[in-house]
């Protein structure tokens, strides 16, 4: 359902004289509202409910005047959209940071095993090599990864503070959380891309573990890119 259809459905029960005023307001509000289609439709539906309630509670014989009074009480649709954009930025940054923090250790472990235990990994495939040495060897082969991790992990933690329990204790603005989500997501794209390129360039024999690592990283790269783009869009709108 597109915005026009949605607004027409939402105002269908109003007096025909009030409908154009409310529908016009909702269309302008929806056009200024960033975020996913689902999130936008939910917010537009909620605001429509509030407008209809306000019109219903307005006494007077003129439905168009009641509608005009209601939209006036809600203020500029662009200002209202900006306020909601801030809330959506915080929530999106939180989800992005949480997803990266929770998926990071697992994906890191798969890559570590894939690049240090496979048949093409040379001396490091020796089972007697300790885990810290494996990690050091991997970071030496891919020096960009530890640098990216030093950027991604703090950024993801700040992004998590965009919403939820942490947001009540850490004074992180939604704009800062959005920026952190953008940095963490973009850093993740570069990290996953580097690991995939490294695997393609150096792997002689593709072990099942390496195929798994590349598959997971490809999926995460796509999701991180989408999340980073969304954080950037919401932050710009808020």
């Amino acid at each position: 359902m597109d915005t026009r259809e949605l607004t027409e459905t939402l105002v269908a029960d109003l007096d025909p004289l009030a409908q154009p005023v409310v529908a016009g307001y909702l269309r302008e509000f929806a056009a200024a509202l960033p975020g996913s289609r689902r999130a936008r439709q939910a917010i537009v539906t909620e605001i429509a409910d509030g407008l209809i309630e306000q019109i219903t509670n307005t006494t007077g014989p003129d439905p168009a005047a009641a509608a005009a009074s209601a939209v006036h009480a809600f203020g500029s649709p662009r200002n209202l959209a900006t306020q909601f954009a801030r809330e959506l930025t915080g929530k999106t940054a939180h989800r992005t940071g949480f997803a990266l923090i929770s998926s990071g250790p697992l994906i890191g472990a798969v890559w570590l095993l894939a690049l240090t235990s496979g048949p093409s990994s040379g001396p490091s495939s020796d089972v007697t090599v300790t885990l810290p040495k494996r990690i050091t060897g991997l970071f030496a082969a891919l020096p960009l990864i530890p640098l990216l991790l030093m950027m991604i992990i703090p950024a993801a933690l700040v992004a998590v503070a965009g919403a939820g329990r942490v947001s009540r204790f850490l004074p992180v603005t939604t704009g800062a959380a959005g920026l952190a989500g953008l940095v963490a997501g973009a850093g993740c794209v570069v990290a996953d891309g580097s690991l995939i390129v490294h695997a393609v360039m150096t792997a002689g024999v593709w072990s099942p573990l390496l195929i798994l690592a590349v598959t997971i990283s490809t999926a995460r790269l796509s999701l991180a890119a989408a999340a980073a783009r969304r954080c950037a869009q919401l932050r710009a709108a808020g």
Binding site: L10, A42, D49, G50, Q54, A73, G75, R168
Partner: protein, 115 residues
């Protein structure tokens, strides 16, 4: 009363409106207006984003009503919201008591929470 005056207290006021029972956004505005005898007549557009902010912080939980008629988003306090409301009440009474003591010529004693 001007909206700016309420700015620092908006969260506590909204949380207290949701304390008795879950209600939708417009009912929060109406309830606030009625319980303040019309003194707190907030611009409608400020309350909806504020409710979303409280939801983002985990102090309220929003859900869509499933009954007949149009869909409505209903808000209820979470346990963190109840705790926050209690803390804000204590803070407010301490502040109000102190201001009354200073400005009211000693007419009001500072409030202390009952145990």
């Amino acid at each position: 009363m001007r909206a700016e005056v309420l700015k620092g207290h908006l969260d506590g006021l909204l949380l207290s409106m949701l304390e008795p029972a879950p209600i939708h956004g417009y009912a929060v505005i109406e309830s606030l207006r009625a319980r303040s005898n019309g003194a707190f007549d907030l611009p409608t557009g400020t309350v909806y984003p504020a409710l979303h902010r409280l939801e983002r912080a985990g102090l309220v939980r929003g859900s869509w009503s499933t009954g007949p008629g149009r869909r409505r988003r209903v808000y209820e306090l979470t346990s963190a919201g109840r705790t926050s409301l209690t803390e804000q009440r204590v803070s407010w009474w301490q502040f109000a008591g102190a201001v009354s003591t200073v400005m009211g010529g000693g007419g009001a004693a500072a409030w202390t929470p009952a145990n």
